[in-house]
């Protein structure tokens, strides 16, 4: 298996209880070139799980293997895109995309960065600074930056969550196009059911308190998937049903 999570648990230190367990015994196998979404209510541990795969968070117990190599710290084999583009404002677009490429020659850095900027349709903005770009454009630069490292997996944590609806749809299409060109393995965290269904080959549905996987869905519907399509609607209803109980659980706790 390409990316494998074996009995992975995560606890954070907690003042009262000593430790606060976000989830335990997560088992997951992900195949190469797959577009997999992790879907779940907020607080179920999606970001934490992704950060553990990225190597940003420690693994409390269990193991994460990428091509049979255990993951311990961040590395260029895993690219990550966050909800905030996190571009460096003191660097222009080209320099931002070059940032992770220091292992290449100067010339190759520029060629590679330009290639990926072309892929996200930002060739005209190589010399612009992040503050001169719209939120959607910034996020495209962030995607180009992550892809430029040529990672084995692209980890995306609600990458379009801060964008307006219109821009989000445009970026969905772009991401699908890039994915079909680049053949990356993508792990995509979202709390939007329609986003997960529109994009993925497979949806891992997570529940909360305690965090766990409640369903593992394959989607074989042909792309592009339209929201009004009967099969898509049926799928949405199904996932909605799965999550309803989980969301109520969160609400109840928050209202207490």
């Amino acid at each position: 298996m390409y990316l494998e999570l074996n009995n992975v648990s995560k606890s954070f230190p907690h003042e009262e209880h000593g430790a606060w367990e976000v989830f335990s015994d997560i088992n997951l196998s992900i195949e190469e070139h797959n577009f997999v979404s992790i879907l779940g209510p907020s607080g179920c541990g999606k970001s934490t799980l992704l950060a553990m795969i990225a190597g940003l968070e420690s693994i409390t117990s269990g193991e994460i293997l990428l091509e049979d190599q255990p993951v311990a710290k961040p590395g260029p084999d895993r690219g990550m895109v966050f909800q905030q583009p996190a571009l460096f404002p003191w660097l222009n677009v080209l320099e931002n995309v070059k940032f992770p490429l220091k292992h290449l020659s100067k010339k190759d850095q520029v060629t590679t960065a330009k290639n990926y900027l072309q892929m996200v349709h930002l060739s005209r903005f190589t010399q612009s600074y992040p503050h001169e770009l719209s939120g959607g454009m910034q996020q495209r630069v962030a995607i180009a930056r992550a892809l430029a490292m040529d990672p084995k997996v692209l980890l995306m944590d609600e990458p379009f969550g801060a964008l307006d609806e219109q821009t989000r749809h445009i970026l969905h299409d772009e991401l699908l196009r890039i994915w079909s060109e680049d053949q990356k393995t993508i792990l995509f965290v979202t709390h939007s059911i329609s986003e997960a269904i529109k994009l993925s080959d497979r949806i891992i549905v997570m529940g909360t308190r305690p965090g766990r996987i409640i369903e593992d869905l394959s989607i074989t519907l042909p792309r592009p998937r339209v929201r009004t399509d009967a099969d898509v609607i049926a799928m949405e209803q199904h996932v909605m049903g799965l999550l309803e109980g989980e969301i109520n659980k969160v609400l109840k706790e928050e209202l207490q």
């Binding site: 990225a54 190597g55 940003l56 961040p74 590395g75 260029p76 895993r78 690219g79 990550m80 966050f82 905030q84 996190a86 460096f88 404002p89 003191w90 940032f99 992770p100 600074y129 992040p130 503050h131 962030a142 930056r145 992550a146 490292m149």
Partner: protein, 250 residues
């Protein structure tokens, strides 16, 4: 343009009021000169070079003192931001030290270094160092964690992370620190020179006072204010704004 006009009109009004107070004889002539006397004091001072010389001496003190206070303050700030131990131990005292007006350091400085320019430079350094340290500490602490996380996923950590991400990300706050260090150092400079044996603008002020030249006293107060604000406006505020804009903070 409209703003400039308003400001000029305001200045004219202030001078008119000043003239009015003088003409009404509210204060004795020896304590309160008319605007025109101050104007002539300025012309005379720059004409015979005494004010120019004093000004150059003051700038020399700053030229030594300000860079030292910036370098020293930055080092302290980095240490406090990066070492929890250091911050818990000494961080609190920094605010205490910052709250001491710089003129309070002058007697100590004179005792330590004697009546010479070293004493003045010491006061300038003390004047700027704490605010610089505080701002550097804030700058480094406020580096968005998203920058650090993103950099780490790109294989950058440790010293490389510090130099390639944390330092550049800190520059806006750091520039604020430099601007404030200038402002505090300038005030400290005047305090130091006031009690020194010269040369310097502050010393010229005491000198004019000793000879009851109230027109010169007023002229020097004007120069101090004009230079303080002009340098802030033309150099440090401008730099800070440029940086803020680029960093997307404006």
């Amino acid at each position: 343009m409209k703003i400039l006009l308003k400001r000029i009109l305001f200045l004219v009004a202030v001078i008119a009021l000043w003239q009015g107070v003088y003409s009404a004889g509210v204060f004795p002539e020896i304590a309160f000169p008319p605007p025109v006397d101050v104007y002539y004091a300025l012309v005379e001072g720059f004409g015979d070079g005494t004010l120019t010389k004093a000004l150059l001496a003051s700038f020399k003190h700053l030229l030594y003192g300000l860079p030292i206070s910036i370098i020293l303050g930055t080092s302290i700030g980095v240490l406090l931001a990066k070492s929890k131990q250091a911050d818990e131990t000494a961080g609190m005292y920094l605010i205490a030290l910052q709250s001491i007006p710089s003129i309070a350091w002058v007697p100590l400085s004179l005792l330590l270094f004697g009546f010479n320019e070293m004493a003045v430079i010491f006061v300038v350094v003390i004047g700027g160092v704490f605010v610089m340290a505080l701002n550097t500490r804030t700058a480094l602490r406020n580096v968005p964690s998203s920058f650090k996380k993103a950099a780490r996923t790109m294989g950058v950590n440790g010293l490389e992370l510090f130099f390639k991400v944390e330092i550049p990300a800190s520059i806006p706050h750091f520039m604020t620190g430099i601007r404030l260090a200038w402002a505090f150092s300038w005030r400290a400079l005047m305090a130091g020179e006031l009690l020194s044996n010269g040369p310097g603008l502050g010393y010229s002020l005491t000198y004019a006072f000793d000879f009851a030249r109230v027109d010169v006293v007023m002229a020097i107060i004007l120069i101090i204010g004009v230079i303080g604000s002009t340098v802030d406006h033309l150099v440090f505020s401008k730099l800070e704004k440029t940086v803020m804009k680029r960093w997307g903070l404006l």
